[in-house]
């Protein structure tokens, strides 16, 4: 998994049906000690993360499909947690 910060939300009306009604967040990747890496990814939110919050992102297909409970979900990046602190 990776740590990142929610930079914003992406809105889209024309997309694969699986993504209908799902929140898409733009997440800036961070190192485990919270430094931005310059990379980003677009992830589906499952925990209600808001802009500016530090989040935990699962970036692997099988785990993502388990989370959404659909074995054919075309999904890889899922926000799975909101980080309170990095130690």
């Amino acid at each position: 998994m990776i740590v990142g910060r929610v930079a914003g939300e992406l809105t889209s009306t024309i997309n694969h049906p699986f993504f209908d009604g799902r929140t898409l967040l733009i997440v800036d990747r961070e190192t485990p000690d919270g430094e931005p890496t310059g990379d980003y990814l677009v992830a589906v939110d499952t925990v209600g993360a808001g802009r500016g919050q530090r989040v935990l992102v699962l970036d692997e297909g099988n785990g993502a499909r388990q989370i959404v409970g659909c074995s054919t979900a075309p999904l890889r990046s899922v926000v799975v947690g909101i980080v309170d602190a990095l130690g």
């Binding site: 914003g8 997309n15 898409l24 980003y40 677009v42 992830a43 075309p74």
Partner: protein, 94 residues
């Protein structure tokens, strides 16, 4: 998923049967600020609605194959959807 800009189309004359009729678009990956980053790729477009100049988000690997019906045709990139807009954190640009 990553952001990309459609910069062209590819029209194959001969293609693997699972890909017949699937639009193929040339997509330039973008960084978070919307600037080109890395090399352009060819992505299948299951939405069949993205055109040149449009901002899209795309996925690679096995998930790209899953985006196409019947899934599991040989593609390594596919467009997930067309971006309508962003709502950004204060101070964010692009």
């Amino acid at each position: 998923m990553l952001l990309g800009r459609v910069i062209g189309t590819v029209i194959p004359c001969v293609v693997y049967e699972g890909l017949r009729g699937v639009p193929m678009l040339v997509v330039q990956p973008l960084d978070r600020e919307g600037r080109p980053r890395g090399r352009a790729i060819v992505a299948a477009d299951p939405t069949r609605m993205a055109g040149p100049g449009e901002l899209v988000y795309f996925e690679g690997g096995r998930e790209a194959a899953l985006l196409l019906e019947p899934s599991f045709v040989p593609v390594d990139h596919a467009i997930v959807g067309i971006v309508d807009g962003f709502s950004r954190a204060p101070g964010g640009t692009a």
